[in-house]
């Protein structure tokens, strides 16, 4: 068996195992919370008889392990359960929300990843000169300010003062792509600012590290231009660390957008999760937790696999 195939399948198996562990952890933690779904439905003033009846009805008296495997079995078949508060099928209501979140994350990534790598290359090309310092200063400033503050500042200046873009990022299926993009422009800007510094600094550091190597000296002594040296000889060897940090930030774009979604009242997963946490809707929280975990683990697995594929020693064994 080709070593790459072996390594990749190992990573995949590990990813699945990790996901299983995460689901157990999420289930266990919600179990450990005081009260249960019956209590949440009936409220604090419920009589013990009513609680006991509802528990019996919902099957909450059975052992936790049985309920865990039932829940897990449902997930594997695409059944995420039913919301306690509005009795709707979770998979259905999550579907549209997840699409919206992925839509936002996709456009934020499309802007921020190439921009971060380009700025990183630029910073290396002009290292320790003013372009490098300017790039570092600006990106570090934007990462240091809390995202809700950036969000409100942008809303105030761009949307209110300049009258560009909508302050509320409402989207629905009847809008055209252009309208949708116009609507999400501000949250995309905020997200880009938040993730840019991390990816740009990592690109810069990874490439600078490679620039110390003897093969970069060889490239210099071939009379190549600086940009060709960086692009042809340094970048291919810096792919693994860069992809790792890009994937971490992509995961953040999907999982960590809660605050930004709330600021812009964007109908995504974050809003959905926050709403149902306040209503103590345990099945929804469980479902969101598992989806977030799957996305996080999936993206990191992709990073691992790309790093394996980027290694010529693994790709072309002796």
């Amino acid at each position: 068996m080709h070593p790459i195939l072996k390594l990749v399948s190992q990573r995949l198996a590990l990813g699945l195992l990790l996901l299983l562990g995460a689901s157990a952890l999420i289930f266990g933690l919600t179990e450990a919370l005081p009260g249960d779904a019956a209590q949440a439905v009936l409220g604090q003033s419920a009589t013990p008889e009513a609680l006991a009846n509802l528990r019996e009805e919902m099957g909450l008296n059975r052992p936790a392990l049985t309920r865990y495997f039932e829940w897990l079995g449902g997930i594997v078949q695409g059944d995420l359960g039913q919301s306690l508060t509005n009795k709707l099928d979770i998979a259905e209501s999550v579907g549209g929300r997840l699409n919206n979140t992925l839509f936002l994350a996709f456009w934020a990534a499309l802007v921020s990843v190439p921009l971060a790598i380009f700025l990183g290359l630029l910073a290396v090309r002009y290292r320790n000169r003013w372009p490098d310092k300017l790039i570092s200063a600006v990106t570090l400033t934007t990462i240091s300010i809390p995202e809700f503050l950036i969000g409100y500042v942008l809303v105030y200046f761009v949307a209110v003062k300049l009258g560009m873009f909508s302050p509320l990022a409402m989207i629905n299926d009847s809008m055209s792509l252009g309208q949708k993009l116009n609507s999400i422009a501000l949250p995309v800007m905020v997200l880009t600012m938040v993730v840019l510094a991390h990816m740009m600094r990592m690109t810069r550091a990874a490439i600078l590290n490679v620039m110390q190597s003897a093969y970069v000296e060889t490239a210099e002594l071939k009379g190549l231009t600086n940009f060709k040296i960086i692009y042809r000889h340094a970048l291919p060897n810096a792919v693994a660390p860069i992809v790792n940090v890009v994937m971490l930030n992509l995961a953040y774009l999907v999982v960590g957008v809660v605050v930004v979604e709330v600021v812009f009242v964007y109908p995504g997963m974050g809003q959905y999760l926050v709403d149902h946490v306040t209503k103590r809707d345990v099945p929804v929280v469980l479902a969101c937790g598992v989806i977030f975990a799957a996305i996080y683990i999936g993206l990191n697995m992709v990073a691992d696999i790309v790093a394996i594929l980027a290694n010529p020693r693994l790709r072309h064994p002796k």
Partner: protein, 545 residues
Amino acid sequence: MSDTLLKVRDLKIGATVYPPGEKPHDIEIVHGVSFDLERGKVLGLIGESGAGKSTIGLASMAYGRGGVQITGGEVWVNGRDILTTSYGDIRKLRGGEVTYVSQSAAASFNPAKKIMDQVVEAAVEQKKFSRKEAEARARELFAKLGLPDPDNIGERYPHQVSGGQLQRCMTALALCPEPDLVVFDEPTTALDVTTQIDVLMAIKEAIADTGVAALYITHDLAVVAQVSDDIMVLRMGNTVEYGTTDQIINNPQEEYTKALVSVRSIEHEEKQPTPEPVLSVDGITARYKGLNFDVLHNVNVELHPGQTLAVVGESGSGKSTLARVITGLLPPRDGEITFAGRKLSPDLKGRTREDLRELQMIYQMADVAMNPRQTVGTIIGRPLEFYFNMRGAEKRKRIVELLDEIELGEKFIDRYPAELSGGQKQRVCIARSLAAKPKMIICDEVTSALDPLVADGILKLLLDLQKIEDVAYLFITHDLATVRAISDSIAVMYQGRVVRYGPKSQVLSPPFDDYTDLLLSSVPEMHLGWLEEVVAHRKMESAGN
């Protein structure tokens, strides 16, 4: 028109240094060096580390490594002073007119790109050839340099070929754009002796065939004598002597050159074996975890008290693995080790403190074998505390004694490793191992990283200390000159087996087995024409190919 290709006049090169605790300041590392190189000729630049030979070589490409800067003088290539031309012109010079072969091809090839892409890159970039022409030329050069499968080897990645092959690929890379001058910077130093010969011969023939001029930089006078027309001896940034190869080798004028020519003059009388060996290695077979083959096969050797056993072999022969087995770092699969009359536990964990004290080790890289944040006194004092519970004045007295024994003296006691030269660092490591009053010391390539004259000093010191302390050495090395200088008995290792073992006089006298013959004949000798003679008389392929 004159035939002078490279004309260097009063070249001065400086660098900014950042010593710990001091303000950064500029120093001069090359102090006004001048020479001429005609088309098609080879000039050897020779000297110890710090002589400035690589720096001068790179200056002919207007390149300074790290913070190095050319501060004065003139460098004329093809009739123009490259120190005053624009950066664009310098880029055309590099990779076009002048190319470079580095010491470590393994590090100088980009691991992520195919060999062919890298070999033709400069030629294509400098618009000397089209990609297709350059590839054809590269394949021709691969064949000329004796690489296997020259039509396809370019499709491989650097890690897929051996060290000796990669060094030849680097030579092809340098020759591909049809340069006027190639700078060879220690191109064979990192190779095993038997591989070195092949690469040296390939380089020499390629130079002759293409009519290119070359600067050949090395610390090994015997090597440079084989390839160059003229030799310049450098020391600490100054020219010591500059003349034809014949004159430098056969009639050196300066004391320093004479010392270089006659280096390795240690005489060591072979001692007779004693009835009771201090170490006996019986039938050791060992393999590393995760490998499915043995790296040592049934190794049997003995070391007698106060004597030296040299274990000699090339990289991959298993000599360092043997040291790991003896120290307990790698428990063997089979066989046993008897030390000072008692059986040693195969595993480090099972050994007593006495076992550890009596068997010490000195390493190749003295820099990394010492804690950079500890003073020399602390480093040498540690085993005194650990094994003998010495404290205060008593400990200090013993440290000073040891410093005197290694010819450094009390003034070194408060210095840090960073303030010492390479040779001084190795001396401190020797003192540290002696502090434990061992019966035996394993010396793993202890002189390989040092300049020849410094290495000679270390070997003399080790022999003197052997007389004083009556300590036995297991001396691991790839260098046969070192073996001759210090050993009483010798074990020659090849592919995990001891192929020849006995007293020095017997091992180094004919009749030889094929491998020992190859190894002995591969050691460069300081006379002209040696390379051609030895290549003509070889019976066996190099181990590294």
